[in-house]
């Protein structure tokens, strides 16, 4: 006797059983793939976390150092920098008026004239019966040769402009050398030196600009304020020079600034 219902049930059971290996294999493959994916992603997360931890740890340490270890030199330096930034916000600085800084930054290095390292040793030695006077050699002062002068001391006697000549070429080379070095290391001492040299050779615009650059790097250098003010004065911008000095005096109570201000008012600036 044919029992079709029972036969259908058996058939269904058979089909499920025949597909079972495929289902098991498929599920296993999916599960393995999922596991592999999760494992790889978790490994990546661990790696990332490790990297982040490695990166973040020193920062935390630094912060801790900054908070706790105040006497440590490094933290002191850090603190000084931050204080400077805060100070600079309120501090009086020389306002750049000649777009010099930008020009300086954008100036291509190739334009710098290569300077010979060897300094010419053309120092005039006083001859026995010579009436020529050798200029007193100074580290920061250009070598100036005076002709037809009888006095030996330079401090005591004013140099007569008409009677001396400057070794301009060498002077220019020296300045350019310092400028090149300044561009490389941004040392305010170098820019101040350049400012002074330009002021001496009466290139007041450049003198002002390098005083400005010095001030930008370190606004506490008194000399940069003085050179800047004197340069402005020489450029017939007396009012600006006075304002500059007043601001500096208000901030620093500098005696030299006060004296220069007095000289400007008296018209006795040298």
């Amino acid at each position: 006797m044919l029992n079709v219902q029972e036969l259908e049930r058996k058939w269904l059971r058979y089909k499920i059983r025949s597909y079972l290996p495929y289902i098991i294999v498929s599920v296993s493959v999916i599960a393995l793939s999922l596991f592999a994916f999760l494992y790889s992603s978790s490994t990546e997360d661990i790696t990332k976390n490790t990297i982040q931890t490695q990166n973040s740890t020193p920062v935390v340490k630094k912060q801790e150092i900054l908070k706790t270890a105040k006497p440590v030199k490094m933290t002191v330096t850090k603190e000084v920098i931050t204080v400077d930034e805060n100070k600079n916000k309120n501090r009086v600085m020389i306002t750049p008026s000649l777009n010099f800084i930008e020009t300086l930054k954008n100036m291509p290095k190739e334009r710098v004239i290569p300077v010979k390292k060897e300094r010419p040793k053309k120092t005039l030695k006083p001859t026995k019966n010579s009436s020529d006077v050798k200029v007193v050699e100074h580290k920061d002062i250009p070598k100036i040769t005076y002709k037809n002068t009888k006095t030996v001391s330079l401090e005591k006697k004013k140099p007569v402009h008409a009677n001396f000549s400057i070794n301009t070429k060498q002077e220019e080379a020296d300045i350019q050398d310092v400028i090149r070095r300044f561009k490389n290391n941004k040392n305010p001492a170098l820019s101040l030196f350049v400012a002074k040299r330009f002021y001496i050779i009466k290139r007041y615009t450049e003198a002002y600009n390098y005083a400005l650059a010095t001030n930008e790097l370190n606004s506490e250098i008194e000399e940069s304020w003085i050179i800047a003010a004197k340069s402005l004065y020489k450029l017939n911008r007396e009012q600006e020079a006075v304002r500059l000095l007043n601001r500096f005096i208000d901030d620093s109570q500098s005696m030299r600034a006060r004296m220069l201000l007095e000289q400007i008012r008296n018209g006795s600036v040298q």
């Binding site: 044919l2 079709v4 036969l7 259908e8 058996k10 058939w11 059971r13 058979y14």
Partner: protein
Amino acid sequence: MESSLFSKPKEVFLDIVDAKDYIQLDSVSTIYQSLKNSVKKPLKMILLYGRPGTGKSMLLQKLYQDLSKHQKVIIYHTPLVDEEEFLRSLARDIYSYDIDSEINFTRFNELSNHYSFDIVPLVLLDEAQLYSSALMEKIRLLSDSRKIKFVITLHKTEKEDIIAKEHFQTRIWESIELKNSSHAELKIYIQKKLMKANCFDIANMFDDKNSKLIHSLTSGNYRYTNKLLFSLFHILHWYEEHQPSKINYQHVSNKMIEMAAIDAGFIDA
């Protein structure tokens, strides 16, 4: 019942050995032709062997039907295991000699010497593996006398191979092996069988997928195929009577074939 579309196909696949149901397939046809040619040769014994259900009995039946018109052909589907009964049957069927008294191998040889035929009588022995070794030896001696020609069929199993080796290896002049069908042959077999019974619509319901499935279930064995298809049409017949909406008349669904395989015991569900 008679009006059912599947009742007639079901009867087609009843496992009955009838020469009228013989299906001409390429491989079977070649073998049959080879068998016929072997019978014509002056061979003492011909062995037809193969696994059960490969069509040995059908070939033997077909041979009997074809040759009996021209020569004396005796066929024994059921083995006669008793020697005296076997010899008595041979005497009666070949020589039309009824022996009431006891008969032995010597007496039978004396009897056979009194008769002569234009064509040597042909005895077809099906299921020869069931004969005893002693009787098989007598059969060999009879075939050696050239008074009777034997065509015997054997199941090709390991054990029966040994029997064949021991008793027939040196005496058999020709052996023919029958094999299971390929799935293409099986499809032709099913369709031809159905078309022979004028079931054309049903024959067209079988496609390659069906024949492949049937072949995988029956290994191309004709007897198993008959059994499976009988069960299939039995199930389809039931559906036609009770749930005709579940029958696809365009082609046979594999579900039905699998259900038939479960019912026939080819699938253990």
